[in-house]
Amino acid sequence: MWKIISGIFLGWSLGANDSANIFGTGVTTGIVKYRTAILLTAIFVLIGSTIEGSKCMRIVGDLSRLVPIEAFLCALAAAITMTILTYFAIPASTSQAIVGAVIGAGILSGSADFSKLIKIVACWILTPIGGIIFGYLLYHGLKFIFDKTIPSLTYRNTIYTVGILMAGCYGAYSLGANNVANVTGIYVGSGLLSCQMAALIGGLSIASGALTYGKKVMLTVGKGIAPLDPFTALVTVLAEALTLHLFTQIGVPVSSSQAVVGAVVGVGIVGGVRTLNPKMLVKIAVGWLMTPFAAGLMTMLFIYVMPA
């Protein structure tokens, strides 16, 4: 059972990195306090992972045939990659880290299933596009509804506060449901854990990451990409949550970072491209490209130096 420690470490890293995508905009716009944000994230991540987490579990384990020790090394390499990127405040993707690591191990053992990889990569490409589409549509749709039904400043103030809170809870639920497979999916594939146990352990580890180490990335996501007002913050979180939930139903774990950046870009398109910070987008794109390769190479190195 000690082999799941690296998965717990990866879950902690994911929680620290991706909790920013849920309440980052809410915290930086001052609507939600940081403590409230991380507490709600932890609770709803756990609920999401236990209720719907099993939907994405199989695909990660099926990428390569792993023995338990390889699963341990894959999770370790992915976790180290994620921690380094988190340290440099780059919103990175755990999905890409773990898939890069599993494929790296699969290449060494000759068991890598590239047909499944194509489906996953297609979903990676579609994730930011989904975020952009949801962001754009929700912006126009909700704006129309709010303008028609809630003209009062006081009510709108309350709606934004409650809306961002509820959208954040839904986002945390979707994160848990979709991303728990990144953390413990490989242990299901290697036969070390059952789906339910993997979902529970993964959910707990993500929650612990959110509770202990999420502040730096939270501020990067909230402030660095585009200036957000309460309405766009609400739209962004809701678009991200919907994107993640959609891919959960498809059964592929995707990046919440890609979803949230897509959503911010979608909202940015409504306001004109000038509201986007290209430097920050380049930094994120570099992180996305580096993540799978770094995790894959690190896994190969670990397996290579590991005594037989």
Partner: protein, 209 residues
């Protein structure tokens, strides 16, 4: 904290709105007193304008503290506070004008134009109240803000006539001339500050859309 916010149905926000409404209504009253004091050359009514300014100052402090105790989204608070401060600047300017008036003997050839400006100041402050109430209801502000700009333009036109007429008055003492000049300057610049206040209302309105 959040449950409190949901179930209070915006109690704190409504208190702040109530106080700001009271502040602007006091402004209208002060302008009314000022105009009557000019018409009747009544120093005790001018004194009332200063008393109202002190009352409004207390309301301003109360509003600011309520806002920072948690009323409204943090995103909105700086603009709301700025609006309240600008309204307070209008009170300060009106008080300065009242002080100058008590210090001088207003030449009769300027009185009717000064009364006209005072009347327009009263109307523009009433329009500010209407604009604020419309903003709270989420109504369109364009026409109201346009009306404020038109009033401001009218006051600007009178200002030039006033300056022209004032130059015809023979000044025998430097300080009499200085105080008259300051009085006219304060009286005619109040509308500019009211226009600034209306601009803040527009900013708040747009930022919540």
């Amino acid at each position: 904290m959040f449950l409190e916010k949901i179930f209070s149905k915006g109690k704190k926000e409504n208190q702040v709105i109530g106080h700001i409404t009271k502040q602007i209504k006091l402004l209208c009253t002060a302008f009314g007193f000022f105009k009557t004091a000019l018409e009747t050359d009544n120093p005790s009514l001018m004194q009332q304008v200063m008393d109202i300014e002190r009352a409004a100052d207390t309301i301003r402090r109360d509003i600011i503290s309520r806002i920072y105790e948690g009323a409204f989204l943090p995103y909105l608070r700086p603009d709301l506070c700025k609006f309240v401060e600008v309204v307070d600047n209008i009170f300060d300017l009106l008080e300065d004008t009242a002080y100058r008036y008590l210090d001088l003997k207003l030449p009769e050839q300027l009185r009717s134009e000064c009364i006209q400006v005072a009347f327009l100041n009263r109307r523009i402050s009433e329009m500010l109240l209407i604009t604020f109430e419309s903003m709270i209801k989420g109504e369109d502000l364009r026409e109201k803000i346009l009306a404020i700009r038109i009033y401001e333009k009218k006051i600007d036109d009178i200002k030039f006539d006033l300056i022209r007429d004032a130059r015809k008055i023979e000044i025998t003492n430097f300080w009499d001339g200085e105080i008259l000049s300051q009085f006219l300057s304060c009286l005619t610049s109040i509308s500019d500050v009211i226009e600034d206040a209306s601009d803040y209302l527009q900013v708040i309105h747009l930022s919540m859309k």
